[in-house]
Amino acid sequence: MFFVSKLLGSPVKDAEEKTVGSLYDVVVSTRPAYPRVTALAVKRRGKLVFAPWDTVSSFEESGTLLRIAGGDLAERALARDELMLADAFLDKQLVDTEGRKVIRVNDIQLVRTGRHVHVAAVDVSSGAILRRVGLARVSERLTKGRQKPRPRLIDWRDVDLEQTDDSSVRLTVPRTKLELLHPADIADLVHELSPEERAAVLDALDDEVAADAFEEMHPSFQASLLIDLPDDKARELLGNMSPDDAADLLADLPDERRAHLIAMMEKDDADDMRELLSYPEDSAGGIMTPDFAWVKLDATAAEALESLRAQDEEVETVYYIYVLDRSEKLRGVFSLRQLLMAPPERKVRDFMTENPVAVRTDATEEEVTQLIAKYNLLALPVVDEEERLHGIITIDDAIDLVLPLAWKKRLPRIFH
């Protein structure tokens, strides 16, 4: 990811490494939701000439290298769906749908997607101003000790490309509804791209953001990405997912790739995957997650709280705590509320609900959803023939079973 302001004015060299001129602006096609760079506007001896994108061999902040001779660049008119990015947007006033001033466009962020470059977001941070006036060090020092200076980004899809009569830039959302770019939005951006571009974007993101973005994606994209991504990135992404989602994804992969990825995982994770994958995909065992909160039968309420704290990071939900005996048999369940209300020294067996509702690993999706709906459960335990607890199915996973996934992801976007 890089910023327009850093590119402007950088030297443009031709195939023979001779300087043609300096980069004046970036021409983008506004047809994609995230405009794609189609040409570079180069200032050559006071005149503007254009280099089509397919003649650009490298495009960096330090400079641009062309594949063709400098003399081959020519003047041209912009196409109807094209515009000069910095000229049209940089430093312009951003106003929301109610005409209120939000801030000025301090910088514009581009994203490299394999061979192409897309416009991703508007940087509205004050750090961008300091960076542009050459005081980047000051902004770094100001934020020292805290997290590293982060751009504050407005998703480019919230920007209205229509020209206004006072040359301000309109947003398509009211200021109060404006949310800064979230990993899920990057997932949206990635949806717009071709498969190899997608892998390139995710590979460029740092692990945490990539994992968040990845989880928001459509499963079919996720699967195709796992095929295209480098091994270590793929392992990173899988490791960050909840085991049931990861197992579902792996199930969609070709056998060879799946075995390869599981072999690369840590042993505990790999064991979980193997177990989950051993169940048919549409059975309770295939849907469940092995990360549930549990305590021993002879624990007290205080001990239960203690162990719950220790499990916090790993478990899917803390609202239900399952009680297991020594042979991992499911003996009861209590809610977080029951736990909080119980005196610390009280044994969990004295306040737990015995014989909880549960399904076998081979139960069908219908049985699962019906039980959850009938008993108003937040999660449903999954046990084997010997009543041993193997996992739980949370209500949000159950909703996914009822509501076709494609709907859930796609519905709001029809209205864009």
């Binding site: 006033q93 951003l94 001033k101 939000v102 801030i103 006036v133």
Partner: protein, 422 residues
């Protein structure tokens, strides 16, 4: 029949005439306020000093500067009306961010210094009425702050306009001083430049206090905030011309009052409050009160306008919501800047033993250096058809504005370089 038709005609004509007058009155505001705010504590001080030190001999500078003031203010107002945007925002869009940031920073700094000078003026005026500074300054600061942050554009405008009318006190003071009108007229039409450093410095101060960068920023922001349209603009234009004449007219009476009383007696004063005290034994108690009330009014007026102008500048440049009709919640940055630039200078002005003359000098020097820069920005913009369409400058205005800019750059160079030769 014909007769009644004619009568109807007359009635319609009268009504149209009256509504035109109403429109014209409703348009009053930006031009007069900007002009009167230009006559701030520093302005009154400078012209009092000039009258006492040089008599009638520098009045011609007032005559020369009047059309320049009118042309410059008109240009900024026109840019505001045509583009619907403030000066700082246009600078940001048409020049590099580095230049913008530097200009905004310098403007904010100069405005800060000038605001300190205004609050010192309030303290000085208070002392003429035996009000201690630590009572007068906070009370005024709070009152002006409440007005500016709580009031709508129209309320603020009316109060500021009313304050401007107090300046009539200077006219009265000038009249009761019994000036030598013939000598005053000769001083107005015969340019007599002197080339000693004190005279040059005084002349630069006189120009610098009349035409200010913040005045340019303010008038453009005010016409935008008032949402004046191109059709209504003609009224604003004449208001600006009238405001310029009124402003220099008041300066004229200050000079005349000081020249005819103090200069004649050989009393040279260094400040407006000193002038007021010096006038008392010669003209009676009324003169002191007239000068005191005038100083108080202009200082309050400018102390209200300066933080406003600063807030407009910063918000325009960086794109924050702004405007007098906004609440703190709607425009936190705008109202925050007003608050900061109101109270911090007020506190600074109350520091005992603050070298007031030095503060004014530093602020005036910054303003003097900044003015040609802002003026050149304005000229580039007002002559750019991409910005102004058909409303670019005509040749006459350009001649006056460019000519003045050249003189100004020369004067600024003298101002900046003078410490090297002193």
């Amino acid at each position: 029949m014909a007769q009644s038709l004619r009568r109807l005609d007359r009635r319609v004509a009268r009504r149209v005439g009256r509504s035109r007058l109403l429109v014209a009155l409703a348009m009053l505001g930006p031009g007069l306020i900007a002009a009167n705010a230009g006559n701030d504590a520093g302005g009154i001080t400078t012209w009092s000093v000039i009258g006492s030190r040089y008599g009638y001999s520098m009045i011609w500078i007032l005559v020369l500067i009047t059309p320049v003031l009118a042309v410059v203010q008109e240009m900024n107002a026109r840019v505001g009306v045509v583009t619907g945007r403030g000066l700082a925002g246009l600078i940001r869009e048409n020049f590099s961010l580095k230049v913008t940031a530097l200009a905004i920073l310098a403007t904010a700094l100069a405005n800060f210094g000038t605001t300190v000078a205004e609050f010192s003026g309030i303290a000085a005026a208070g002392s003429l009425f035996h009000v201690p500074p630590y009572v007068g300054v906070p009370v005024v600061a709070l009152a002006v702050w409440l007005l500016v942050t709580r009031g709508s554009y129209h309320k603020v405008e009316r109060v500021l306009l009313a304050l401007g009318f107090v300046l009539v006190t200077y006219v009265i003071a000038g009249l009761i001083a019994g000036p030598d009108w013939g000598a005053a007229a000769r001083g107005a039409v015969t340019p007599r430049p002197q080339f000693d450093s004190l005279w040059l410095f005084t002349a630069i101060a006189a120009v610098g206090t009349t035409l200010t960068p913040w005045g340019q920023f303010f008038i453009q922001a005010a016409v935008v905030d008032k949402k004046i349209t191109l059709r209504q603009y003609v009224y604003t234009k004449y208001e600006i011309y009238a405001g310029s004449v009124i402003m220099t007219g008041i300066d004229f009476f200050i000079v005349v009052a000081c020249a005819s009383v103090l200069y004649k007696e050989g009393v040279v004063v260094e400040s407006a409050q000193e002038a007021a005290r010096a006038l008392e034994p010669l003209l009676g108690l009324a003169a002191r009160y007239l000068f005191g009330v005038g100083l108080l009014a202009v200082s309050i007026l400018a102390a209200g306008v300066l933080p406003l102008a600063t807030a407009y500048v910063v918000c325009e440049a960086f794109g924050f919501e702004s405007g007098l009709d906004t609440s703190f919640r709607e425009a936190p940055v705008f109202n925050g800047i007003i608050t900061f630039f109101m109270f911090v200078p007020a506190v600074v002005a109350m520091i005992p033993g603050l070298p007031l003359v030095k503060v004014i000098l530093v602020a005036q020097t910054l303003n003097g250096v900044l003015l040609p820069v802002i003026l050149l920005f304005t000229l580039r913009m007002v002559n750019n058809p991409r910005v102004m369409g058909e409303h670019v400058n005509g040749p006459g205005r350009n001649a006056i504005a460019w000519g003045f800019s050249v003189v100004l750059v020369g004067l600024s160079a003298v101002l900046v370089l003078s410490p090297l030769f002193a």
